[in-house]
Amino acid sequence: MEILISELCKSLGVSRTTIERWIRQGKLPVSQKGRTYSFHARDLKNWAAKNHISLNLKPRPVQGPEAEMQVSLSTAFETGGVYHDIDTGPDVPSVINACVERIKAVPDNHKTDLARQLIKREEALSTGVGGGIGIPHPRTPLKYLEQPMVATCFLKHPVDYHALDKQPVSTLFFILFPELKFHLHLLSSLSLCLRNRQFSEFLKTCPEQSELIEKIDALHLTQKM
């Protein structure tokens, strides 16, 4: 298998100038066709083994924000689903239980466990951020989920959620995720949306899933500017 210089650069973590210098100095096993150089994977591996050099012929993982890994908010909303008119008791645990019951994406056998986690989280600190909105989320990732998601639950009656502004809560966004790295991103995207006055007014109308997602997309577009 032939390896190009650019790939070798990434595997060894050095610049092209360095590779060219090593070729000139005779330190790399290279075959020359006219003016272009190419490497064979087999030769490289032999050479690396003989000289105790660690050579990783697969491209190195890039450090830093994994932008490509992020799931967009609207996709998360779609996965999570939107649920209306949820009838609940007046306290936080019953709200959680009732909502979790409705969320389709969560497998049935995990629902009780999830509810318990969420209640625990609320006991530590309320996720009511004010303006009638709550953002419950578990502390640890849920391995059984395939995708991260935001499940929207509109309550039939507002409930006292011990929110920051002491107002009762009628809309809950459940942020559920299989890995921690999604959590922060979704949280920040969501809070960005919620800061928008228009959006929070829009929420009060308990919109349908498609309308909600449309609105979120539109909001994101304007924010990218």
Binding site: T18, R21, S31, Q32, K50, N51, G64, P65
Partner: protein, 575 residues
């Protein structure tokens, strides 16, 4: 047919470029043969001219002969060959450590001719260094002809050196060891075989053309217990003489540089001075192999005090020849001074302890040679093997070891750098593979620099900047002028953190108000060593590279560590 051709081509290509052992061996043999021929040519021509000139030396005007010789030598090098005069061996070492062994074609024969002119006319120099230079240049140019890479070319340069030394002294082992110890500076298995082959080839060339085996034909001698003390004493003596020799060489050379005369006149004057001394003591002229032969044979007729004086005269005369425009090496003078020292020491020792159980005067001459060589060149291994091969046997190996190691160690303590390396070390050009200096010299700023930085305009509003850092992982943002594109300063997120957290600032400040204009920068003209020292001293781990007001990228310590390690591994591990 084409499949066959394909297989042949790939076989050849692989064979040739990378797994090149066979090619190097054959090329090494060829290089050794040519280097050997060069050595033999010089030796024979010198021998014949010596015979020619001998009857003339008794005349008073003969003092001018070395002057004319040095003058012609100087003119030849300067006007005909346009070769910058320099000492041959340091140039070869420089080429090997800094330039991948590249040597000019003219060096394959220029020094041969110039040193012939110098030595044949009576100048006190040795033919060995010029032959080493020729041999190395032959190796380098054959490598160039074959299109070899740096590593292979350096091997062939080593082959040339080995072939040359092997041929001049009929000492293949000494050739190999000198090449590896002095020129290449590293023992690598890939190198040893071609160099050994070249050494043998060179020695065989010598044997084929000049049938006498050993250069000095010493009579056999045996060792006694008293010799151990004697050797130690001799070693101390030769160490002192070596230091005197090295320092005189440098002083006289320095004096030459300060004398406001044209180089050719200088050569003439120097040569005449040599000639004048030569009239008084003809032994100091030329390479001096003849007196050495007599001393080794124990038949040297001079009186004690004359010999003692002779040591210093020879030192002085060599320094003038080499420092004032003549061309040649210091091997042969070292040998002569060494045997003189050995004989003087022996005579003194016999005077003080007339009944000591020691070996012959000739043996002490040989040991003296080893002592001076080790002391001046600080190459104990080469000296040991050279003398052992010259004597044709290893009877005296114990004493040789003693003398060489003590002399070289002692002179190293007094004068830390050998004659060959001193210049290079002073210029900072002496770099053995796997040393810090070598790693830093191979790496260039270009290879370390990280150019993937986002630049920002000086007039950017802070709010916009916040958006940028939201989506990036960088800590440094170079600020660029809108009109000229020049680098103005650096925004460091770590320093402006407090502003980023206070939204009140977002619309209130522009980047040119919070940028750091004092941040020290490097440029592509700086060398890596200085940049590193700088970063150490001021404890910074990121430095921007600004080239004539243009931002090019940044250098980070973390990246330097990565690349430094890689480079070190590449330099030392690669077989």
């Amino acid at each position: 047919m084409s499949k066959l051709k394909q297989t042949y081509n790939s076989f050849y290509a692989k064979f040739f470029l990378f797994d090149d052992r066979l090619v190097l061996m054959i090329a090494g043999a060829v290089v050794g043969i040519f280097a050997g021929l060069a050595a033999v040519a010089l030796r024979l021509s010198l021998a014949s001219v010596l015979e020619f000139f001998t009857p003339y030396r008794q005349y008073a005007w003969a003092f001018i002969l070395p002057g004319i010789g040095a003058l012609f030598s100087c003119l030849f090098l300067d006007k005909v060959m346009r070769e910058g005069a320099g000492h041959g061996v340091p140039e070869v070492i420089y080429a090997v450590s800094r330039r991948g062994g590249l040597l000019r074609f003219r060096s394959t024969f220029s020094r041969l001719i110039s040193s012939f002119l110098t030595i044949a006319s009576g100048g006190s120099a040795g033919p060995e260094a010029p032959v080493v230079m020729s041999g190395s240049a032959i190796g380098s140019n054959i490598a160039k002809f074959l299109g070899l890479n740096d590593r292979q070319r350096m091997t062939l340069v080593g082959c040339g050196t080995a072939g040359a030394i092997a041929s001049i002294f009929h000492a293949p082992v000494a050739g190999l060891i000198f090449s590896v110890e002095i020129i290449l500076g590293e023992w690598k298995f890939v190198n040893i075989i071609p160099i050994a082959i070249a050494a043998v080839a060179g020695a065989q060339v010598c044997e084929a053309i000049i049938p006498t085996k050993e250069l000095f034909q010493p009579p056999p001698f045996s060792i006694f217990t008293g010799d151990i003390l004697g050797s130690i004493g001799l070693a101390l003596f030769t160490a002192v003489i070596s230091v005197i020799f090295t320092r005189t060489l440098r002083k006289v050379g320095g004096l030459a540089k300060r004398t406001p005369v044209s180089p050719w006149l200088r050569a003439l004057i120097g040569g005449c001075a040599v000639g004048s001394i030569g009239i008084f003591m003809p032994m100091v002229l030329g390479e001096g192999y003849h007196p050495i032969m007599e001393m080794v044979g124990g038949t040297f007729p001079m009186a004690f005090w004359l010999i003692f004086l002779g040591i210093f005269l020879k030192i002085f005369v060599t320094a003038i020849t080499l420092g004032w425009g003549g061309s040649g090496g210091i091997f042969a003078p070292c040998l002569l001074i060494g045997s003189l020292s050995g004989v003087v020491f022996y005579k003194a020792m016999m005077f003080i302890f007339p009944n000591a159980a020691v070996t012959s005067e000739g043996a002490y001459a040989l040991l003296g040679m080893a002592g001076i060589m080790s002391g001046v060149m600080q190459a104990p291994l080469s000296s040991i093997f050279l003398i052992a091969e010259i004597t044709g046997g290893y009877e005296a190996i114990l004493l040789l070891l003693l003398v060489s190691s003590i002399s070289s160690t002692l002179s190293h303590i007094i004068e830390p750098a050998s004659f060959y390396f001193k210049d290079l070390i002073e210029r900072g050009e002496f770099m053995r593979p796997g040393t810090d200096a070598r790693v830093l010299s191979d790496l260039s700023l270009n290879e370390i620099i990280d150019t993937s930085y986002t630049t920002v305009s000086e007039n950017m509003v802070f709010r916009k900047f916040i958006n940028i850092i939201r989506n990036s992982d960088r800590n440094h943002y170079p600020v660029i002028s809108d009109e000229t594109g020049d680098y103005l300063g650096m925004v460091r997120v770590s320093s402006i953190r407090k502003y980023t957290l206070d939204p009140a600032f977002y619309d209130m400040i522009f980047l040119n108000q919070i940028m750091d204009t004092d941040m020290v920068t490097a440029s592509f003209d700086d060398n890596l060593h200085d940049v590193l020292e700088f970063m150490e001293t001021f404890n910074i781990d990121h430095i921007p590279v600004v080239d004539h007001h243009r931002f090019s990228g940044m250098i980070s310590k973390a990246r330097i560590l990565d690349l430094y390690r890689r480079e070190l591994i590449m330099q030392t591990n690669i077989q």
